[in-house]
Amino acid sequence: MILADSASSSPWHFWAYFQDHLDEDLHLLWDHVWLSALPVLIGLAISLPLGYLARRYRWVYPPMISITGLLYTIPSIALFVIVPPLFGLKSLDPLQVPIALTVYSVALLVRVVADGLASVPDEVLQAATAMGYGPLRRLISVELPIAVPVIAAGLRVATVSNVSLVAVAGTIGMDNLGRLFDTGLQLSTPVPYYPPIVLGIVLCVLLAMAFDLIIVMGNRLATPWRRAVAAR
């Protein structure tokens, strides 16, 4: 209750709240950062071979897309809760949230990888094979580089969506920006107390924008050939 006394409860005083609780908030922000990013990276690593299979063997594509699509419909709260028993973890294990979010990332990215590989023109594949590329080398040095724009677009969706899903995990007690909502809720009795809630929203949005910017820049750096097309 000292908190509530020390700062105004106006929503616009979130910055004062941030400064008053700098250490704790930065800690929450950092946890949010890696909880959002790491599952996307692991998810991408898992999706690459799965997406390749879905592209390589046509009959794999429909079931793979259906199953991964269904995974995404599991409510996040429910997934957080059932991950520990499924993977033999204790409740609130540090791996609980990354595992659940990796599942979501895979759900989004398998399709993206498969579609990205499908975006490589057929005559390019043929030419690569006829030049003497083996399947793996062709994948790494021809197909994936050409699929980068499609995959990057998927990564943007997966990352931004992860930033918001991580916050949900805060409400079950994991350290991240979601805790700010929890704090705000607890401090809102008997009168509403907004600053931590607004701060949580602002930091989540800024974080999502930062990730998005990083991916867009990375995509630009990896695909100079696409700008060359636009400049024509």
Partner: protein, 381 residues
């Protein structure tokens, strides 16, 4: 040399794309596979570099059995050019060309240097080197495709409709440059097309395939035109066969008439003095023909002005001494004066000929052939 030995490709559903194909594509020559769609020409081509595996039969590259060589290794020794070029969009032109040398682990600087020379060789200025394929026109992309296939200097090249997707003018240009390049390089080339005119223009040998993957005829272009093996080949080779065959017959010494000329800029009055049948040939300072001038119907008071290039009729084609009968006949037929203009290798005027003079050569040769040749040749045309 590439040799097909009873090669069959049958798909699981029983359709035969290629049926017992046996043929030889000699070293250093262009062998064209031509036929309607579904004749198995592309399938045959792709069996050479094992993009498709034959169901039975063997394909020999000189004394190597293709099926005994690891696919990737085999392909790095065989140049491959396809329709739309299939360039790698994410690599610059120079890196596209150097693809196979990179794959073979050659020194990158050296490979790029060679790639630049190759670009020049296929007629692309070096400043294209650092562009991306999407910044090039279709014809330019196809040149890069040819350069890429040549980069590791493979003895064998496979070309699958490489010039089909570009407009007719560019296609003609690419074909001519391809022939010039082949004259320098002497690769063993198997070339697939559905266009019989392209086959006849480019091929040293032409294999006509019929639907179902049967070889209908393997012959030189001239033979294909004069002696089609059966009605299918005759129909596929098409109309104007007799006329097109003249394109393979050397005209030899064409009897020439002297042609009076005026130089551009001379007075029209002088042109009127030397004109025959109302027409006079106008040449430039190096005696290269520019066009025909018609003197009939010119008002009398115009005769004092000089001959200008805008007065000329440009309808006539030029024949070269030592060229083909087709060229000579066409020069005569297309000339507005009825006199076909014949020039030397430098393009300077030698004289003129007429359609009846060229026809006399054709007639006398045909009479000589009739005396000796088998009667089938006559019946087919």
């Amino acid at each position: 040399m590439i040799r097909f030995e009873s090669v069959t490709k049958q798909y699981p559903d029983g359709t035969k794309a290629v049926d017992e194909l046996s043929l030889v594509a000699p070293s250093g020559e262009i062998t064209v596979l031509v036929g309607p769609s579904g004749c198995g020409k592309t399938t045959s081509l792709r069996m050479i570099n094992r993009m498709i595996e034959p169901t039975s039969g063997r394909i020999w590259l000189d004394d190597r059995d293709a099926s005994k060589v690891a696919p990737a290794q085999l392909r790095r020794g065989i140049g491959y050019v396809i329709q739309h070029a299939g360039l790698f969009p994410h690599r610059t032109v120079v890196d596209n060309v150097a693809t196979v040398p990179f794959l073979l682990g050659h020194d990158k600087r050296e490979a790029r240097k060679n790639a630049l020379e190759l670009l020049e060789r296929v007629g692309l200025p070096q400043h294209f080197a650092n562009r991306y394929p999407a910044q090039l026109s279709g014809g330019q992309q196809q040149r890069v495709g040819v350069a890429r296939a040549l980069a590791a200097d493979p003895p064998v090249m496979l070309m699958d409709e490489p010039f089909s997707a570009v407009d007719p003018v560019v296609r003609d240009q690419l074909q001519n440059e391809f022939l010039r390049l082949q004259g320098e390089l002497g690769k063993t080339i198997v070339f697939v097309t559905h266009d019989i005119d392209e086959a006849i223009k480019l091929g040293d040998n032409v294999a006509v395939l019929r639907v179902g993957g049967h070889l209908a005829q393997l012959a030189t272009p001239a033979e294909l035109l004069s002696k089609p093996a059966d009605p299918f080949v005759a129909g596929f080779v098409g109309r104007d066969r007799g006329y097109r065959a003249l394109g393979f017959a050397n005209a030899g010494e064409i009897p020439l008439a002297e042609e009076a000329t005026v130089t551009v800029g001379a007075e029209l009055k002088r042109a009127k003095d030397v004109a025959q049948d109302g027409w006079v040939l106008v040449v430039d300072g190096a005696r290269a023909p520019l066009g025909w001038l018609c003197l009939n119907g010119l008002p009398g008071d115009a005769l004092s002005r000089p001959v200008s290039e805008s007065d000329l009729n440009l309808g006539g084609t030029l024949a070269h001494q030592g060229g083909t009968l087709r060229e000579a006949l066409d020069a005569a037929l297309s000339s507005p004066s009825g006199r076909g203009v014949v020039v030397d290798t430098d393009g300077a005027l030698l004289g003129s000929t007429t359609a009846s003079a060229v026809l006399a050569i054709i007639e006398s040769r045909a009479a000589a052939t009739r005396g000796s040749a088998d009667p089938v040749a006559e019946e087919a045309s």
